[in-house]
Symmetry: C2
Subunit: 424 residues, 2 copies
Amino acid sequence: MTRSTTRDAELRERAAQVIPGGMYGHESTKWLPDEYPQFFSRASGARIWDIDDNEYIDFMCAFGPNLLGYNDATIEAAAERQRRLGDTLTGPSAAMVELAERFVALVSHADWAMFCKNGSDATSMALMVARAHTGRSKIIMARGTYHGSHTWNTPLKAGITPEDRANLIYCDYNDPQSLQDAAAQAGGDLAGIFATAFRHEVFRDQALPDPEYAATARRICDETGALLVVDDVRAGFRIARDCSWSVVSVQPDLSCWGKMIGNGYPISALLGSDKARAAAQKIFVTGSFWFSAVPMAAGCATLDHIRDSDYLERMVRVGTVLRDRLQQQAASHGYTLRQTGPVQMPQILFEEDPDFRRGFCWTAEAVKRGVYLHPFHNMFVCAAHTEDDVRRTLEATDAAFEALRNREPTLGPVEKLAAFAEMR
Amino acid sequence: MTRSTTRDAELRERAAQVIPGGMYGHESTKWLPDEYPQFFSRASGARIWDIDDNEYIDFMCAFGPNLLGYNDATIEAAAERQRRLGDTLTGPSAAMVELAERFVALVSHADWAMFCKNGSDATSMALMVARAHTGRSKIIMARGTYHGSHTWNTPLKAGITPEDRANLIYCDYNDPQSLQDAAAQAGGDLAGIFATAFRHEVFRDQALPDPEYAATARRICDETGALLVVDDVRAGFRIARDCSWSVVSVQPDLSCWGKMIGNGYPISALLGSDKARAAAQKIFVTGSFWFSAVPMAAGCATLDHIRDSDYLERMVRVGTVLRDRLQQQAASHGYTLRQTGPVQMPQILFEEDPDFRRGFCWTAEAVKRGVYLHPFHNMFVCAAHTEDDVRRTLEATDAAFEALRNREPTLGPVEKLAAFAEMR
């Protein structure tokens, strides 16, 4: 393998001068194996090319936004039509109404939509709407769940004050009793219950929502008048053509969306039922680019595609083939994988790998062979992934398992992960 | 005047079904005269067209993002080149480093840059960096100042808890003594002082920063180790080719930017000095679209234009002509205008107009004649405004003054503003 990394190394050096730590946030490679490229030059379908022009089958899909394929012709044409007219203007365009109408038609619980830019915008708006609706303060959410990087939820502790989280009560995801205990603790001051679409924390096995847990959350909200919020920012439209909790037959009052709703164009959304409409009207939230027309035109085209195509069934099919074959392949090399979460959002961890050294080695070897996996974060299948991509992926992972077997005796603990754990 | 408003009325009806209140945020017309269109179809240069194809000379510039003219050919070409390659990817592009390098070269105090999407993202990051840097909690900011719509600053009270603001201490902008009093109140727990570039609150006269106030803020920070933050989200690059407080010779430790830095493409930024770099590395902040390449390519082209062209001098020239002639024109109709703020970000209020009835009537009459002004929010000149635009604007405002004089006896208090005041 003669894989150039020259330009990436040069850019990292320049970045270290003018960006704190050289890079930050969820796309930083500082907690990934050294073999991962930091900078990319282009993308098409399910492929990305790094800045040195190395090609990868991409199972991160920009951490979710790539739902239908990078540079999808239909979405790009819709965006381009709007772009010629205008994007960020002194008021919204018709596309804002058209996109809200599409969401209300597609998502069962939704009677209205508000658009924003980040997933964190949508979850913070849900927080405010729940409080404005109830006139109460306390919010229940599951320990360790990621609901965005605003001060009330960001996973690292730097820059956070105790007051930022004074009104949060934590429960354990999928544990109905802990939810009831949390509600009892909130007493008469419960404004809302936040729930992630499914458990998709880093470093651990994923879990679909337990139906009893979901029903308990709904019941507590109905009994207390609090609002039930499903955070679908990461999972939206990869689980269902509806809110992800539709699979456990529970309808929230509010749901948060982002990432994939414009197939990569920057837009997120808070959807709500009529019950929460008056409160949503009372809060003041806004952003300079929240009403920009191009991402809304892209969103309309994306939602039409979601409604009309078999994109979801194709992702499930490809994800299933990948999971099944990987399990066999791992076994043939004497390894057992813990593959959890929906097949279209796979988490792949190694058995007997408490410090992730196997996962780090295996994904590093895969990246060197043109397959971009993640050693501890859930991955994403998109509608542009084909069974041929899976075949090529398996060629790379087969060689990666072999390399792992050879390197196994030399592997040590992953030091950068220890540093990460200290910051949490 | 035969000005159609049919499509706008239809869209408002549809919007009322699927968007709370029909529209929200800073681009909602619910606190504007009834004559204002809510929805727009296209834009070019300094012109916007509403959904009924009525044309306006636009003095809001999308509330700031339009700095060089809508659909500026150079910016659009740079964005289009990047778009063909890719936008939201699994990692950042070279454009992120190139944009950070441009900011560091252009803004005196800046040694590094972090990019985000909303102005609110940048101000909240500044809050976190100040706290991470000092290990302290308290933040001083001026009463009534807008630093974004996150819970710690949004101007309406719905959905906010007392804890959201427990660590804020308020002073009066441009009053050095009140700043010293606030610092005394913070005692040993002062993390930072926030300062808006200049006073640009709604409903009141604007004010440039008082040099003594700015120097006092800098001195308190130097003495206590707290960080000085200038919020340049609204004013950035309209006052100077540097941080806006460069005009009073004070350098902050952090500055917040947004709106205009990609000439309408969605991007904002936190800039910092080396002193704050280690703290910036410690916080965890991110967003799904923060590392998208297209807005960064647009940002590079915008900053090159800022550095190399006379865009700022042209805006000042056009703004000066507009202010001078409007003052004469108002006098010729027997009115006195209070025109405050920099001429390139004008605030226009009427003398003897405590309940804004005159301002509402005059701007409504101007909108009917194809000039989009704002009755209580600062406006924005862009580099595409010409002296011919000013000439046409003055024709419309002349007729608007005459209409105001005729309607004056029938004017009553503006009821929607009373409703707004109740929500604050």
